[in-house]
Amino acid sequence: MALEYLAQAFLIVTTPLNIMVLLLSTGAGLIMGVLPGLSATMAIALLTGLTFNFPHQTALISLIGVYVGAISGGCQSAILINIPGTPASAATALDGFPMANQGKAGLGIFIAETASCLGTLVSVIFVLTLTPLLTALALKFTSWEFFLLSIFGILICGALTARGNALKGWIAGVLGLLVSQIGLDTVDTIPRFTYGNVNLMATVQLIPVMIGLFGFPEIVRAFKDSADDNILPLSKFEIFKGFGLMIKNAVAAVRSALIGVMVGIIPGVGEDVGGWLSYWVSKSRSKDPESFGKGNPLGIISAEAGNNACIGGGLIPIMSLAVPGSAPGAVLLAAFLMHGYRPGPLLMTETPEFIYNIGMYLIFASFAMWILALFIAKGTVRILRINKKIIMPIIFTLCVIGAYLINYNMFDVKIMFVFGILGLALSSANFPAAPFLLGVVLGPMTDSNLRRALRIHDGSFATMFERPICIFFLTVIVFMILSQTGFFKLFKKSKKPLEGN
């Protein structure tokens, strides 16, 4: 049966009209992903309206295409100008930008896009085979697990981006958590730090914060540096070298994709954490962790395979429970419903072909994305040839437009300026911006799940220690804090003189 449905889906997607729609929408998604400020959520929401009157299958193909494109496109701006195109690709910038500075931008983009493609393909396999089983895993997560996972995510991100001083990364993360507290809280809807401002009540929007934090320091840096440094050597694509790197790191890439799938399944966590988590695992398993953050290709591969695999992972709770795992997932669910599909427990009995259609469209979309991304990259790498003093004002304009487009609200543009100045202050004091951003992303999850768990268990922390997943997270968190603060080194040093005696 499954093969029959897959064959049917193959026939649908390969009609000339659908192939054209797929290429167009994937390309549009890629471009929106590349531009900082135009997010995957926005891309899907826009297309949902546009495709309302399309034939159902064509509409689905376009939505899947734009989703895959937008999540993958973000890596290009992260690598080329150190400004992630979407929050999900913040981890890619860590090794991507240094690689571009070494004159290997083309190679960096090639492996990033190839890893994205691979990540999506691995996740499709899970959607098609293990949906019911993995849904059960999603239901193992209660408030305590969500709380610990978000703390874990911020700690990882802080430790990874702080270049040796994890404390600075964690401080940035906590600052981000604090910023996310602005607005009506999600437990009791009590306004916090809003000063009677309706716009602040709606919480600080993520995209303007991201554009400000990452964009401003880069824009200012372009004008601070001397003109000669501003033009980077334009690199070739080095496809064979790229394939070589992919084959060499195939195990790590698949492992990262698996982590991404798992993170994607847990509702409410999303692509951002997927990239960081798989990056962290690759770094801590590496024989040469020092090379990460300095242009290690494995860093790019892990981050991109991890965040793209969340796409398939995120589809699993949508398909089985009609509960979206992320903001773009929520818009996708809305689009499914609008086209008459009812994701949920009845999906397999009412429209059993649906899940195979989506799987096949994902496969085609990831290949289309791969080809188009490399095509687009031929153009985007040329940005490096242009003096940054010319390119950065253009990016600045895009930042303002992007911030405005989130809600068609000038207030968001002001927010972007505020966080731009904050971003400058942070970067000049060597605090990384990425944990700050992740703090803002995960803040509502951290805060509300802690308070919710305490309310359910009458203010007791004890129940946290009764849950296996919690124990796992707690152990890793404690281990990480101790290792980053040099506790284990102290231990080793105090032992050595003794042995000497």
Binding site: D188, V198, G268, V323, V331, L337, R342, M445
Partner: protein, 332 residues
């Protein structure tokens, strides 16, 4: 060639001269103050599509989530009243905005077209010890303040449902709020909370598939979801609940008063066509919404009763500090 050019120019002039008198001449923005995919959003999208056709333009749906829907509502309230900025909102959150202190304007300051009604439904996990609504009510009575209800937050449809359950039980439950209907549902499935009193539409398929048990709906009549799957009205077991019914979310499209009667009539006409549109009816049926179209005058009458019920549920739950009487809300 010149002739063609002249013709084109003339056509252009015609278009631009009539543009000043006609309305609408460009696409209308329909603000949904919640994220995409929710009940209000889906209803608004189906309605927007059906209303755009008779108006001869497209209606774009814009999602501006935040502050429990009040941010988007206030955005529309503060936009110029030119008919190009319309709101779609759930009436539970919308009518209680003044008593939550978000604005001094009430629903009486808006032109409103009520479109659909979606009832609440009390569900428990498949292996829950509660098999009937009586089991649950008795548990709340014997362990006041300990039975947990998962909802999408203060003032959400689920919160109102839970308050009706509390009024019937005469004892309090423990309110656990989530960031949305989805997380509240997964928490119920994962067994983190004892029951969920949200809108039936949110878990219709789970009920049919037997993944959750539906104990009672807060509609006035029993609801048949599928052959053999009937959700009883809470009225059956507890006739005294009748004064709180029907409880659920009512979705309407609306815009601040001040638009000319001429333009309002055009919206009236488009709304009347839209609520009979087959695609819209198919959509509402698939979600178990009732289409209860009301014109502008009838909507106001309907909302007087509805808003009073909603406001006093919040007031009695001590969820608000502004007395509903201040805005002339009537106790049911």
């Amino acid at each position: 060639m010149k002739k063609i050019l002249a013709l084109l120019l003339a056509a252009g002039f015609c278009l631009s001269s009539t543009a000043q008198e006609n309305w609408p001449t460009k696409s209308i923005n329909l603000t949904v103050p919640y994220g995409a995919g929710g009940t209000t959003d889906l209803t608004a999208r189906a309605l927007a599509n059906a209303m755009g056709r008779p108006l001869g333009i497209t209606i774009n749906v814009i999602n501006t989530p935040g502050a429990g829907g009040s941010a988007g509502s206030l955005n529309v309230q503060n936009s110029p009243v030119d008919g190009y900025s319309i709101l779609a909102n759930g009436m539970l959150a919308f009518t209680t905005m003044p008593i939550n202190g978000y604005t001094d304007k009430t629903f009486r300051d808006w032109e409103i077209w009520v479109a659909t009604y979606a009832p609440n439904c009390v569900i428990v996990k498949q292996d829950s010890p509660y098999n009937t609504i009586q089991d649950l009510i008795n548990a709340i009575r014997s362990k006041p303040g300990q039975i947990t209800a998962g909802t999408a937050g203060i003032g959400s449809g689920g919160h109102f449902g839970a308050e009706v359950v509390k009024a019937v039980a005469g004892a309090d439950y423990k309110h656990i709020t989530y960031a949305g209907g989805g997380p509240a549902l997964t928490a119920t499935l994962a067994g983190e909370v004892d029951f969920s009193p949200q809108l039936l539409a949110e878990y219709k398929d789970l009920i049919i598939a037997g993944k959750v048990k539906a104990l009672a709906t807060l509609a006035e009549e029993d609801i048949t979801l599928a052959p053999g799957v009937v959700v009883p009205s809470i009225k059956k077991a507890y006739p005294e609940a009748a004064k709180f019914l029907p409880m659920g979310e009512v979705t309407a499209i609306l815009l601040p008063k001040g638009l000319s009667e001429d333009k309002l009539k055009k919206i009236d006409a488009a709304f009347e066509v839209a609520v009979k549109d087959q695609a819209f009816l198919d959509f509402t049926a698939s979600r178990s919404f009732s289409v209860i179209p009301r014109n502008r005058a009838d909507s106001q009458t309907f909302l007087e009763g509805f808003a009073g019920r909603a406001a006093y549920i919040l007031w009695d739950a001590k969820a608000i500090t502004i007395d509903p009487a201040k805005f002339g809300f009537k106790r049911p």
